[in-house]
Symmetry: C2
Subunit: 146 residues, 2 copies
DNA sequence: TTTGCTGCAAAGGCTTTGCACGGAT
DNA sequence: ATCCGTGCAAAGCCTTTGCAGCAAA
């Protein structure tokens, strides 16, 4: 199971194990961030979480995302000139980033993992994580006129 | 020749061909940005260019880098929580990013290009550029104690 | 001469931080 | 009861923008 589909119980367990308190805000933020498949921004996570937890603040969202990122549960994607986006799919994979519609599509590829591991080994580099992005036009957008 | 080692004359030609005026500031900025091998930040390019052209401004550096990026002559690397870094090596390759010393090492790999092209083809994605980063510890840093 | 560029300073946007109150353990 | 986390607002940082003077074509 590479894409997390975690229950509240397992989210609570993860937080406690890392030494964090399992507050209702954190649980809500983690639930959305870990289950989302469309690489949301912090702002969008904030908007979603606010629907069920109206008093949550954007600062708390950022702080929680930082915890998740530090522990490798989500991956932060910084694209030039726009907000960071968060990906709960942390296995080696390729992000297909559409420059027109902004959609990010995950592309699972065994060759990617092999290539990454071989490159790290050859360069005597200790890998902790990676990020493989291809920028261009997605299938839908490339059919449309410019 | 993948790593640009361009003369002033060829830089001037590139700028003019794209419809830009070849000002002395732009030439100086391009010269440094295109020849640099260590993925400098805009600030560092500014510092270097200022040595030979003391009145240059950071804004001009950013504007010129934007031109170079838009035309695919350099690649912008945004790392979370730090300034963007610019890479004049734009062929498909892997960036080995050391989390301790900050060094970014280019790793040339034919498999990388193939993987990227195959993934784009499979997903019916029109590729314009890509970015392949591995994060971890470089050869030098991984020997040191934490 | 015309057009576009520079440099300055100010604005902008995203993210982080400080602090006092409140909730989790 | 203790300690950490929250929420608010303010600060921070990198980058972009507006504009008047100036250089390139």
């Amino acid at each position: 199971m590479s894409r997390s589909q975690k229950s509240d119980a397992s989210i609570i367990e993860i937080l406690r194990k890392k030494g964090y308190k399992a507050t209702t805000q954190r649980i809500a933020i983690c639930r959305f961030a870990l289950q989302s498949r469309d690489h949301p921004t912090a702002q969008r996570i904030y908007d979603e979480v606010k629907k069920v937890h109206p008093t949550v603040s954007l600062a708390t969202v950022y702080k929680t995302l930082q915890i998740l990122t530090e522990h490798g549960l989500v991956q932060e994607l910084d694209l030039p000139g726009s907000q960071a986006r968060f990906d709960s799919y942390v296995e080696p994979h390729i992000n297909l980033v559409c420059m027109r519609c902004g959609k990010i599509q995950d592309f699972k590829d065994n060759a990617a993992r092999e290539m990454v591991e071989r490159a790290a080994a050859k360069a005597e580099f200790t890998r902790t994580r990676q990020r493989l992005d291809i920028y261009g036009l997605c299938k839908t957008c490339r059919g449309k006129t410019k």
